[in-house]
Amino acid sequence: MSNRVEKKIKEPFIRIEKRADLSSKVKWLLYTSAFFTAIVVGGIFLLAVGVNPLKAYGKIVEGAFRSKMAVEATIKLAVPLLISSLGITLAFKMKFWNIGAEGQIIMGGIFSTYFALFHADWPHFVLMTVMLLAGILGGGLWAVIPAWFKTKYGTNETLFTLMLNYIALYLIKYLTEGPWKDPEASGFPKIASFEANARLDKIFNVHAGWLIGLLLVLAVYAYLKYTKQGFEISIVGESQNTARYAGMNVKGIVVRTLFLSGAICGIAGMCQVSGAAFTLSEGVAGGVGFTAIIVAWLARLNPFIILVITAGFSILEKGCSVMQSTFGISTAVSSILQGIILFVILAFDFFSSYKLVIKKQKKGGAKNDY
């Protein structure tokens, strides 16, 4: 793709140049066009499998909102995704690639399930508080392990947190088949359903997790923006040397932040077991921890944008569940559409930090900015 100029100096036809900060107007334009391109590409896919895309998109929105129950189900889907995305945000802000949200959700779930199973007779308010704290502790500790090794030996955190996901998952398998097995269950081993006392209260017909999630949006935003610890996180993320030079205890900050990151994911786990599933099963996290990474990243670690994107993902997920009955195609279409949308947005994201400079054919020096 190079173009020969008279003096035999090769200059590429298209150059990539780093962009200065974009004005927010251009940014909005960019992301809206990314969103619409994604919708169009997704539509082409739907068309290719013989479904009318306009009808399908209509059905998706309708499926998510058609009744009070559907709306409640959509919110239920959104809660764990929202909370764990917020958790991941803290770690990512520090450029610590915590991809272990899945495991941290699970550990939060396991810890709080212990109290739900064996101390269900405690007063409801006490039990809920203890379960919440247990979730925080479980998720937090699970994230502290890789953080400690990272600070002590420089162990790769991406791979470490990834492995811990599976260890947590199989811990549930162990508990289900072993010590926590419901003796009354016939057939496949499972853990008993929680008693009513150990279930999270409902506020407006949906478990209180949504309120916790919204409060966390504000809390994480304020924590990152207005507290000293939040400031420390962003400095460590930008440059560990700068942080050290300024006299910050980098190791302490990393471990503390990861505890908080995991703890928030643990809250998501607690909400799942006590609010949505009323039991602990291997599907408690169900890939939410991975999707949360994508959500946090797409939102540029902004808690309010996380809220918006989570809503979008949940509508898509819930809406696609009616695709089977309406169009006779698998509900897996939601994963495919998610994938397509993400690929397109990832591609468009390039233009938010770079621009293409096209060299004019005849005049060597003139440039056209795009």
């Binding site: 991406t158 492995m163 195609i329 897996a332 994938g339 770079y354």
Partner: protein
């Protein structure tokens, strides 16, 4: 009994070997591709579907490799040319790939005669375990190493080729340079983007074949929507265990394959460990290796230096 166990371990390790060899290629050029699971799913479906409709083993394998390559191409365009975050892109590829397999798998089930898409007996026979003449007759060794289905040899063959390529050839040296320090490689006149593209795409093809092994051979000729079931992630773990060397990956994948079938061979009466422990074992071992490697700070068994980060030529 022991021979039976080792034989099963090798069989179970083959898909892991494909995934691991592929991922090593990708990580060696500096791209941590978390989409292995997704590429294996894509390969699993396309391999199975082509096998189902054409009854041709060769075409099926080719299709699975092609599907994996397509997934890898998407990943490469996004991370190499468009410089998207590698972790996010890889995870997206996994979501997309698993959705792809269950979506079209569902269609396959709907279009099949009795709701269970099954490969023809001729097709399955073509991939049956066969004893190699003469060599297969050697006691113990013959049974262990020379009486597998043909894909097992293909896996080992690919791993050896990749190992030799990375370690002993000039372009292998170039690719390692790109993975360790792309700026230096660029200055030395290596086309960084091209090298990355080629290896990421080939890596996807290898992972795709691994997926086909899972859907065609492990599935016993019947399609299953969740045939890959986390094997891609074990492969990512195995890369660490193997210290980024395809040679060690051969041994490593058979060890990990052993872990996955171990629970069926240890009598409950002698050692009574919960089943969950056995499935957890590969991940525990990987963490152990990861930590020990980082303690030693050895350069030899470390991830390529630029792995996970994209290369911005303008930011040198």
């Amino acid at each position: 009994m022991i021979i039976k166990f080792l034989f099963a371990a090798i069989k179970a390790g083959v898909p892991l070997l494909f995934g691991t060899t592929g991922e090593i290629l990708s990580e060696k050029v500096g791209n941590l591709n978390l989409g292995v699971e997704g590429m294996m799913f894509m390969g699993a479906f396309c391999g199975f579907a082509v096998g189902y409709y054409t009854d041709n083993v060769f075409l099926a394998i080719l299709a699975s490799a092609g599907a994996g390559m397509l997934g890898a191409l998407l990943y490469a365009v996004l991370t190499v040319t468009l410089r998207a975050n590698q972790n996010v892109t890889g995870l997206t590829l996994t979501i997309f790939g698993s959705g792809f397999a269950s979506f079209f798998g569902e269609l396959l089930i709907k279009n099949s005669v009795d709701g269970t898409p099954k490969l023809s007996s001729d097709f399955v026979a073509g991939l049956a375990e066969k004893s190699i003449p003469v060599l297969g007759k050697i006691p113990v060794v013959g049974k262990l190493f020379f009486s597998h289905n043909p894909i097992v040899y293909l896996a080992v063959f690919i791993a050896v080729i990749c190992g030799v390529y990375i370690k002993y050839t000039k372009s292998g040296l170039n690719m390692r340079a790109v993975g360790e320090n792309p700026a230096t490689a660029d200055a030395a006149g290596i086309n960084v983007s091209l090298v990355k593209y080629i290896h990421i795409i080939i890596s996807g093809g290898i992972c795709g074949i691994g997926g086909a092994y899972l859907s065609i051979i492990n599935g016993g000729g019947v399609w299953n929507n969740s045939c890959v079931n986390g094997q891609g992630w074990i492969a990512v773990a195995l890369v660490i265990f193997a210290g980024w060397s395809p040679f060690k990956a051969i041994l490593g994948s058979f060890v990990f394959g052993g872990f996955t079938v171990l629970q069926f061979y240890i009598p409950k009466s002698t050692v009574n460990l919960p089943n969950a422990f056995y499935v957890m074992l590969p991940f525990l071992v990987t963490i152990f290796v990861l930590v020990v490697n980082s303690m030693q700070k050895s350069k030899k068994h470390a991830q390529p230096a630029s792995c996970g980060e994209n290369y911005y030529r303008e930011e040198r």
